[in-house]
Symmetry: C2
Subunit: 193 residues, 2 copies
């Protein structure tokens, strides 16, 4: 594994999502695996760390999560924008070779047989908290974060360092139709009071 | 009302939140009103437009929403960072004059007796969809968007124009402890394929 990837304390895992990035959602069931893009992911609780993500009924990734009970939310970077856009635009139901056609570089974290995407800035490995009403009525999936990791070049000591690395590391924030904004500059509100 | 504030089609209201900004949450019940800051707000459905927001049991705004069934999610700007930080740090339970002490400039949209914050970039007026399990177990509140507005200087024709206006208009993305990032530069993924 990339030696820059370091574990994150679970009580600080929310900081990986707090700035509202568009994420990649990974899942695997038996020998089937998939990755999709999602803009509607959010922290839900600090301790125990929980997250929510909206997964449409038309997605293959949803089916894999329902079957396996696990998923990864990962924070991609500007360098990966082509991959992020394609993983959101192509369904594995239409293209069974989606991951290969998108040239999706995958690896695994020890103990978690899930397809993690290389070169992301952060990864939250989640155990599904089964909530049939939320899943059926709202397409809303809730996960308990069981492990979290970040690339220490851009997140360490509980803080993002987007402003200290090249712009290719910046998070992506989708608006609509392939139009994204990257994350911008840091502001310390404590200095404004 | 500020003539730049224009209504947004409900099916495009998700675009006001899709880039993951930290929001201000407003509510009013009878003659009590409050505004608080929240980073855990997210779009939930396109049509009918729905949103989710996490509201801790310790907040006064939550009590007002439970009593009245309505709230506003609004997207503040860098110019408002002092207000955003204070509205998130101070509880009205501790300081009944919170809104006055934070110098919170308020107005109302016609037909909606709710305290909207002036100078934001966008406003989503929401009717609570009562879900006791989500509210009690996850502090998760779901709203149906009944009206949406944006300041046309920074959002019009379904798109943000953060890159065409001065930086004081940029959205705020909280990480932790008063440390925010502003939104950055636009990227069109369609040109990367």
């Amino acid at each position: 594994m990339n030696p820059y990837i370091q574990p994150i304390e679970l009580e600080k895992a929310y900081r990986l999502l707090n700035h509202g990035p568009t994420v990649l959602v990974s899942a695997q069931h038996e020998d089937e695996r998939n990755v999709m893009t999602a803009a509607w992911a959010c922290a839900l609780e600090l301790v125990p760390a929980k997250v929510s993500v909206v997964l449409d009924k038309s997605t293959k990734t949803r089916k894999l999560i329902e079957a396996s009970g696990y998923f990864i939310l990962q924070v991609p970077t500007l360098k990966q924008i082509k991959l992020v856009q394609q993983l959101g635009a192509i369904s594995q139901f239409n293209d069974p070779q989606k991951l290969e056609h998108c040239h999706t570089p995958l690896f695994q974290f020890e103990d978690y047989p899930l397809p993690a995407v290389e070169d992301c800035a952060a990864w939250l490995i989640c155990e599904l908290i089964s909530e049939p009403h939320n899943q059926q009525t709202h397409d809303l999936f809730i996960g308990k974060v069981v492990a979290a990791y970040a690339d220490s070049r851009v997140f360490r000591n509980g803080h993002w360092y987007y402003h200290e690395v090249s712009s290719e590391w910046k998070s992506l924030h989708h608006v609509a139709g392939g139009h994204y904004y990257t994350i911008g500059d840091p502001v310390d509100a404590n200095k404004c009071l």
